[in-house]
Each structure stands twice: as structure tokens, then as C-alpha cells.
């Protein structure tokens, strides 16, 4: 018996199949979810993968938030279901206000693709319990709209409540305020980040590291071994 993890495909989602693979490698069962379906198919958790949903033409994530599937995701997230937003998925989560802040164009105005070092600041969320607080990990970063911003009060609140989940190390890649790479909600079930843990789950592929696997094994332990 394992847990079922829904992976949403919006029009323009790119990393859905990769995310399903990562979920599978961690020992969980991936369940594809379609943006037009409100039905979450009794999944135990949901991942919003990266990509350019609706081409990001209006603003990254701005249209996806209105899709039928997101109505259900918002309801379930508020009820405590683990939800992870990666890159474009993180942008969707901020558009839905499940997470605070927003993403702007990178300060250097270019798409950037590189292996990025992060520090796990909060190892108590549904998606980070398998890491140690302060642990340094490297996972791929790839985006053009990755600069995290929020007003000062929100940032102070995030810091005070330990809700900055990940911080960039060895150079801020995009001008994100306070080097923030990812955040969590107060309950710790909703997490969003710009880097891509699903691209760091196999020793041979991508950067050759498996530092991202912990996101999914954290979830497995929470859902199956809890």
C-alpha cells in the first residue's frame, strides 16, 4: 500500500512526466490529473509541475489558477493535503494566494539553467522532513521569471515563522529578495520553490545528483508511515 500523488497537467506544462517519474522512483504512485477535471481522483497529495502554463502570456500562473482542477486543489490544500508547486507550479500557488508573494522576471532578464545550491531552512514541512535543517543540497534551476518578491512585512513574517523553506547559496541567481528559493504555508503542507527537485532523483541523469529525491521520500514517510 502506497500513497497516490496527483500530478497536474495544464496546457503548457512541461515537467509533468518527469515529476511522475520522480514520484514513482520514491515509491509513490503517480496519478495524472487534467486541468479541466475538478476530480482529484482520491489522491493523497498533489504536485503542480513546472512549465509555461498557457504560455505564461498574461503572467506566469495567472490563468492556471482559474482552472477547474485548482478549485479542488485550493479546497484540499486548506484542509491540509500536501501540495508542492515547482517553478511554474510555485507561480500558480502564489497566484491562488495559497502562498504569499510573487515572481518577477530575473534581474538579469535572461533564462537561466544551472545546477543550484540551496540550504534547506525548514525541515519540518510535508515535503522536507527527510532533510536536516541547514542541509545544503544542489538541484537544477531553470526559469526566466524566478525573482521572488513580497512586501517587507510579509518577508519579515515569513522569516519569523520559519516559513522560508529554501534559500539560494553561492550567489543569488535572479535577484530574489532575501535569497528566497522556496517557502511554505504556516501549516507546512503547501510548499513552493523555483528550483526543480524532480530533476535530481537519478544518479545518471541531469546533474548526476539525487538531492531532490528527499522531497518525495519526505512525503512517502508522512503519508505511508505516519
Amino acid at each position: 500500500m502506497t500513497a497516490r500523488v496527483g500530478v497536474i497537467t495544464f496546457p503548457g506544462t512541461l515537467d509533468d512526466r518527469d515529476t511522475q517519474r520522480a514520484v514513482r522512483i520514491a515509491g509513490l504512485e503517480p496519478v495524472p490529473l487534467w486541468h479541466r477535471d475538478k476530480d482529484l481522483k482520491q489522491v493523497d497529495a498533489v504536485v503542480l509541475p513546472g512549465g509555461f502554463s498557457y504560455g505564461d502570456y498574461l503572467r506566469a500562473g495567472a490563468i492556471s489558477r482559474f482552472s477547474p482542477v485548482m478549485e479542488s486543489v485550493i479546497d484540499q490544500a486548506k484542509a491540509g493535503m500536501p501540495v508542492l508547486g515547482i517553478c511554474n507550479g510555485f507561480q500558480v500557488l502564489t497566484e491562488t494566494h495559497l502562498l504569499p508573494g510573487a515572481m518577477l522576471r530575473n534581474n538579469h532578464l535572461h533564462f537561466i539553467c544551472r545546477d543550484q545550491k540551496l540550504r534547506v531552512e525548514n525541515a519540518q514541512t510535508a515535503w522536507t522532513a527527510d532533510y536536516e535543517a541547514g542541509q545544503e543540497i544542489s538541484v537544477p534551476l531553470k526559469n526566466i521569471d524566478g525573482r521572488y518578491v513580497a512586501d517587507e512585512r510579509t518577508l519579515d513574517e515569513l522569516e519569523a515563522e520559519g516559513r522560508v523553506a529554501f534559500r539560494y547559496l553561492d550567489g543569488n541567481p535572479n535577484g530574489s529578495l532575501r535569497d528566497i528559493a522556496g517557502i511554505t504555508n504556516a501549516a507546512g503542507n503547501v510548499v513552493g520553490l523555483m528550483p526543480h527537485p524532480e530533476h535530481a532523483v537519478e544518479p545518471l541523469i541531469g546533474t548526476g545528483r539525487t538531492d531532490g529525491l528527499g522531497f518525495f521520500t519526505s512525503l512517502l514517510k508522512k503519508l505511508v508511515n505516519a
Partner: protein, 749 residues
């Protein structure tokens, strides 16, 4: 203006027609009249003009390209050869791989972002049309001088366009090239390659068969962009005094293309497609005439059913439009409903615009009136063929006599050290990560190797770890010195790059970038290069699966260097066995494989230190290339080497530096006794690679090389944090890294 119907054309034989403005020559126009037995209608003239353009008809190159078929090596792996949207190769385990490289040179000079973006879009649709899921892209690029102000306009735009489009499609960009040379100043080369994977039974072809089957146009609406792109842009020389040609460049929408990919793959999965063709150059003119020409019957199209972005477009404009993100499928009547349903699921507009007939004509109607009535083969496959005159240019002898061997050489170790740094830091030899970091190389989660590795490699089966590797190479400087040898050197380098990563080379695609075919000197270069490539492919046993010819790459009377770019596809049974380029383990032994001769003609050293191009390019020995590849592949399979890097431009010192920087480890080099260190470090002799061998494997590896007759010389050891050439100089890695990595950002950021 009243509609120019077939009937009207027959009645008004003397109406003047704008054939010259559409890029047709007088004799070509006469030939159209002879084929039809009357003057063409405006719509027919539009179709012939785009389809008989150099870009679509290959009219100047065809007679030479035939050699790729005539000299094709015996090869069981080739499933679909030249002539389809892309060639298809058997890679085992039931998988087939399709790949192709194409040019988008002229649009990218006029409008760098959209020109490059739609170049990616076009090649991806070609691959998709074969029935394959696109799995990777790469882009061989050539720009003018790195420090020229216009390069700062063109290069960032091209790179942003490739990234903006490719990243949005979710295709990893795993390789390619960036080369600077002032010969490309007014005519950059933007070539784009795509690789796709399918099962054998999923191969689809571009043909319309079965009377009564429906013709469905799906994807984006048709707009007024890119009208005459192939005839106006790709087939003529730029004239700086002419009007701006921007309207002839297409505008891309990668989001639409992503939907088109997923939608089309679902259509294939449900077996709803009898024949399929993407709409690229020449748009609907090309798709309808090629589908009908390749099929068994005729075709009838109701052109007024085409969904438009701009309702004022004339039928001629609709036929010529190169609006992107469109496909044309042939579908059995009983499957049309399901076809449309899947398109609706993906928010893709789909329209039945006609049907396959049992006649032999392509007939197009506009609101019930016939505007086209042609034999489709005369449009698509039986265009004009030219035997262009060619002649070895009178300057060729002088160029070859201007030997690089006479150039002043470094006299002291200090001078040698300074020149090494200068070459490593020169724009062509410097790190291109500023460019490639703007491309997503991780998406799809199957990337095993990506730039700057010798070849890009992706896994295609997660259970068995079967993978494919692709490399592209081309050296215009070598080809200028000797086009026959230059084309073979491009082939050899690409072949070597694939083998260096442990993959077995299977087949090639090419993009032949040359100047104007109306110049006999250029035509000679083209004839020599194609002959060289065809002979080379025969000898290496790697058939040409398809490719692209781009002519008229020149500014005024000055042609670019002849630039044949060769892409080699290889297969690797187990990607866990791949060989990366990085030196990672201290104490491992460095072996130089192959023979080093004094070969400096066309070299990076001669360009960077002396701004010189003359003499002869390195000698080609394809039998040696084959042997070297076999050794590299065996060594990879049997775990005898931990790293390998091919030697090409920049020579041994370039390769060692790159492998050291990649692995963060230094090297101590001891050059063979009695040799000239300068020649050892900078010679560009072909057929060579440097490998890193674990001490435990040394005997096994050297025994294998000796048994098979491949020269292997121990030249040093992985050690320390500098590149140390004994008795000559030492260069700390940090100094090398700064020199190698700072150049491009400083020029372009």
C-alpha cells in the same frame, strides 16, 4: 480585385503576371505555362513560385545531392531515407530515431529572436510529422566577429529566441556550436536540429492516399506573416539598399506548438492519421502539393475554410503564408469525429479543408470557384533542376600555398604559455556557457550528457537504459581551404565526438550552408563538399538520412566560408556506460590516441595569434577515424576509461584544458621526447582523442590499442590544480578558468 479563376486565366492569356517579383526566372514562368497549357492563375503562380524557390526545390543542389543516395553505404539501420520530412534510423529494441538539421539563417539576421525561434519550431514539427516524440534539440550557430557591434544585436536575440521557444516546448537543448568569424557578419548561420523517438510501427509518412479521406488542417490560424519567406528570404542575397523584409519573417507561438505536439502524439496513439505533413516553408502550398504528390490520387481543397487570423487575406496569401504551428493530416472519414475531439481537448483548432480524390490533380476552390488546377508532382517534386556551372576559383591555389607553417612561432616557454592563454580565451575557444545556460537541458528528465560534452546524450528507455547521442560539427575555415576535405573533417569530428561518449555512430544529417549558386566558385565549393561528404559517409558506413541546403548566404558579392555542418547520430545500449569528458580522478593516466603531425592550416592558433587563414586543412584518414571510434566504444563498454575528449580546433592543449576545468582537476603533461611542444599542443591533426585511464586498466587498455594498431602515447597524469606542461610552463586552473569563462560574458552581457 476580382478573383483570378482557372476559367478566367484560360480566357485572358495575355494578362501580365508578377513572376519576377515572386522570385521566378523567365524560363521558369514559361515552363509553368507549358505545364498548364495556359497562364497560371494568381494562386497557381503563388504556389509554383514558393515551391520552385531554391529553398523548397533544391534546384541548384539536387544534381549534387543525388550522390548521398548513389553512394549510400549498405546499412540495415536506415528505415526511412532522404525525401521524407526526416530520415529514420533503427536503434534496436523496437525503437526508431528520427533526426534532422535545418537552417533558418536569413530570417535570423533580419529578426534574430523570431527567426531563430521559428527555426526551432519548424524542425520540431518535421520530427513530429514522422510520428515521433521530439526528445532533444541542439543549435549549430555561426556569427560575425565577436567584438562587432552587430553581433551584440544578432547573437543575444538568436539565443533568446532559441531559448524562448525551445524552453517553452519542454525540449532539452543538449549541444550545438557557437562559432565567430567575420565572414558571417552580414549573414549569420542559425541551424537547428531536433531528435525524435518512436516505435517502428509508429512511423508516419507525408502522403495523401485513399479517395474520400479527409484533409484536416489543425493548429494555429493562418495569418499574414512569413508570406514568401522561402522565395524572398531564403533564396536571394541580401541587398542593403532594399526595403525592410521583416514581414516575410514568421512569428512563433511556442505554447501553441507545445499543444500541437501533445495533441498530435495523442492522435498517433489512437491511430487516427493516414498521412501527415507539417506546414513550414511555403505553408499550405507545400503541404497540399507534397501530400498529393506523394500519394496515389489527387486532392480537392476548399481554401475558404482555412481559419484566418486576418480575414482580409487573399487566396494567394493564404497559400503562401508561413504562419507557424500548423499541421495537415489525412484522415479516414470514420475517424474524423474522434480526431476533432482530441484537438478540442488540447484547445487546438482543427478544420476539414478538403479530401483526397481519385483524380490526378490538385484542385483548390475559393467560395466555389476553382483557382488551382495543377498536377501536384509538377509543383512539389518535378521543379526545375539546374546544372549550375562551377569552377575551382582562381584564388584557391594561392590560398593553399599560403602555408601556416611559415608563421612565426613562440620562441620561449613564456611565449608559448602566453599564446596558450590567448587561444583558450579567444571567443571561438572560450566557454559558451553564457549561451547554453539560457537553454533548458534538464527537461524530460532523460539528459545523460549535454554541452559542453563531446555529444549530447539522452536515455530513450528507462527500463533498458538504451540511449542515443548526437553531435554537430563544421569548420568553415577548413572547408574554405579545401571544401572536399573540409566536409570530411566535419563528418569525422562529429563521428569522433559521438564515439568519444561511448555511442556507436549510425547515420548522419547535414546542413549545407553556402553562398550564391550563381557564382561558379561557390558552386565548386558546394560540389566538392557534397562529393567529400558522400565519399566520407560511404567509407564510414554512416548513411545520410536527410538534411537541408541553404544557399545565397552572402553579403553583396562576398560569400560566407563554405560551411557544411554535419550531425551524427549514435546509439548506446546502456547509458550507464557513457564516457564523460571531465578528468575527475587524480592519479589517472592520460593517453593521447592517434598521430600528431605538424598541421596548422586553418587552426585556431593561426586565427587567434596571426589572424591567418591559409595552407591546407589537417589530413583526413577515415579508416583511422573508424579505428579510433571502435577503441573509444570498446573502452567505454568495458570500463577501461573514465573520461575521453576529442581533439579538434585548438588541439591537445584545448582538449586537456576543457577536461581539467570540467572536472576541477589539474594535469601534468610530459610531451613525447624529441617533439616540438608547440606543435604537440596546437596541431589540429584529425583522428585523435585524449583519454583518462585508471591505473588498474592501463595494461588492458594499451594492449587493446596495440593489438588493433592504434597509436596510444602516455602523455601525463591527472594531478594537482594546474595544467603543467613539463619543461615548458604551468597554468593554474583558476587562471585558465578565468581566461576561458570570462570572454563571452564580457563581450555580450
Amino acid at each position: 480585385m476580382s478573383l483570378d479563376t482557372v476559367k478566367h486565366a484560360a480566357e485572358t492569356p495575355d494578362t501580365a503576371q508578377p513572376w519576377a517579383e515572386l522570385g521566378l526566372k523567365q524560363d521558369e514562368y514559361e515552363r509553368i505555362r507549358a505545364i498548364l497549357g495556359r497562364r497560371p492563375t494568381g494562386a497557381e503562380l503563388a504556389m509554383y513560385s514558393v515551391m520552385w524557390s531554391e529553398h523548397c526545390s533544391y534546384k541548384s543542389s539536387k544534381v549534387h545531392l543525388r550522390q548521398f543516395g548513389e553512394k549510400a553505404p549498405e546499412n540495415d539501420a536506415l528505415l526511412v531515407g532522404i525525401g521524407e520530412n526526416a530520415g529514420v534510423v533503427d536503434v534496436g529494441q523496437g525503437y526508431a530515431v528520427t533526426f534532422k538539421v535545418e537552417s533558418h539563417n536569413h530570417p535570423s539576421y533580419i529578426e534574430p529572436y523570431q527567426g531563430a525561434a521559428t527555426g526551432v519550431g519548424g524542425i520540431v514539427r518535421d520530427i513530429l510529422a514522422m510520428g515521433a516524440r521530439p526528445v532533444a534539440v541542439m543549435d549549430p550557430l555561426r556569427f560575425g566577429a565577436a567584438d562587432h557591434p552587430d553581433t551584440k544585436r544578432v547573437l543575444p536575440g538568436v539565443v533568446a529566441g532559441i531559448g524562448g521557444y525551445g524552453n517553452c516546448l519542454g525540449l532539452p537543448n543538449i549541444g550545438g556550436e557557437v562559432v565567430f568569424d567575420s565572414c558571417y557578419q552580414g549573414n549569420p548561420l542559425v541551424n537547428a536540429l531536433c531528435v525524435g523517438v518512436m516505435k517502428h510501427e509508429d512511423i508516419h509518412l507525408a502522403k495523401a492516399s485513399g479517395a474520400g479521406n479527409k484533409v484536416i488542417l489543425y493548429g494555429a490560424r493562418t495569418g499574414g506573416d512569413g508570406i514568401g519567406g522561402v522565395s524572398v528570404l531564403a533564396s536571394e542575397t541580401f541587398d542593403s539598399t532594399g526595403p525592410a523584409k521583416r514581414p516575410a519573417v514568421q512569428v512563433g507561438d511556442p505554447f501553441q506548438e507545445k499543444l500541437l505536439i501533445e495533441c498530435t502524439l495523442e492522435l498517433f496513439r489512437e491511430h487516427l492519421v493516414e498521412g501527415i505533413q507539417d506546414l513550414g516553408g511555403a505553408g499550405l502550398s507545400c503541404a497540399t502539393s507534397e501530400l498529393a504528390s506523394a500519394g496515389s490520387g489527387g486532392m480537392r481543397v476548399e481554401l475558404d475554410r482555412v481559419p484566418l487570423r486576418d480575414a482580409t487575406l487573399s487566396p494567394e496569401e493564404i497559400l503562401m503564408s508561413e504562419s507557424q504551428e500548423r499541421m495537415c493530416a489525412i484522415v479516414e472519414p470514420g475517424k474524423v469525429a474522434r480526431f476533432l475531439e482530441i484537438c478540442e481537448k488540447w484547445d487546438v483548432i482543427a478544420t476539414v479543408i478538403g479530401e483526397v480524390t481519385d483524380g490526378e490533380r490538385l484542385e483548390i476552390f475559393w467560395h466555389g470557384e476553382q483557382i488551382v488546377d495543377v498536377p501536384p508532382r509538377t509543383v512539389a517534386h518535378e521543379g526545375p533542376v539546374y546544372e549550375r556551372p562551377y569552377a575551382r576559383p582562381d584564388w584557391q591555389d594561392a590560398l593553399q600555398a599560403d602555408d601556416a607553417a611559415k608563421l612565426p612561432r613562440p620562441q620561449t616557454p613564456e611565449e608559448l604559455r602566453a599564446q596558450v592563454l590567448k587561444v583558450i580565451a579567444s571567443p571561438n575557444q572560450a566557454s559558451k556557457s553564457w549561451v547554453t545556460d539560457q537553454y533548458d537541458r534538464f527537461v524530460q528528465g532523460n539528459t545523460v550528457l549535454a554541452q559542453p560534452e563531446d555529444s549530447g546524450m539522452v536515455r530513450i528507455d528507462e527500463e533498458t537504459d538504451l540511449g542515443v547521442a548526437v553531435a554537430t560539427d563544421g569548420n568553415g575555415r577548413y572547408a574554405k581551404l579545401d571544401p572536399y576535405a573540409g566536409a570530411q573533417l566535419a563528418l569525422a569530428e562529429s563521428y569522433r565526438n559521438v564515439a568519444a561518449t561511448g555511442a556507436r555512430p549510425l547515420a548522419i544529417s547535414n546542413c549545407l550552408n553556402f553562398g550564391s549558386p550563381e557564382d561558379p566558385a561557390v558552386m565548386w565549393q558546394f560540389a566538392e563538399a557534397t562529393r567529400g561528404l558522400a565519399d566520407g559517409c560511404l567509407e564510414l558506413g554512416t548513411p545520410v538520412t536527410g538534411g537541408n541546403v541553404s544557399l545565397y548566404n552572402q553579403t553583396g558579392d562576398t560569400a560566407i566560408h563554405p560551411t557544411p555542418v554535419v550531425a551524427v547520430l549514435g546509439v548506446i545500449d546502456d547509458v550507464n556506460r557513457r564516457t564523460p569528458m571531465a578528468f575527475r580522478e587524480e592519479g589517472q593516466l592520460l593517453y593521447l590516441l592517434g598521430d600528431t603531425r605538424e598541421e596548422l592550416g586553418g587552426s585556431a592558433w593561426s586565427q587567434v595569434v596571426h589572424d591567418h587563414l591559409g595552407g591546407l586543412p589537417p589530413k583526413v584518414d577515415l579508416a583511422r577515424e573508424r579505428l579510433l571510434a571502435e577503441i573509444l566504444i570498446s573502452a567505454s563498454r568495458d570500463g577501461m576509461i573514465d573520461a575521453a575528449h576529442d581533439l579538434s580546433d585548438g588541439g591537445l592543449i584545448q582538449a586537456v584544458t576543457e577536461s581539467c576545468l570540467r572536472g576541477g582537476k589539474g594535469a601534468r603533461l610530459v610531451l613525447p621526447d624529441g617533439t616540438d611542444p608547440f606543435v604537440q599542443l596546437f596541431s589540429e591533426s584529425a583522428g585523435r582523442a585524449v583519454v583518462s585511464v585508471p591505473r588498474s586498466e592501463e595494461l588492458r587498455f594499451t594492449d587493446m590499442c596495440e593489438a588493433r594498431g592504434l597509436p596510444a602515447v602516455r602523455i601525463g597524469v591527472v594531478d594537482g590544480d594546474s595544467v603543467d606542461v613539463q619543461g615548458q610552463f604551468s597554468l593554474p586552473l583558476e587562471e585558465l578558468r578565468e581566461a576561458h569563462e570570462a570572454t563571452i560574458p564580457a563581450l555580450l552581457a
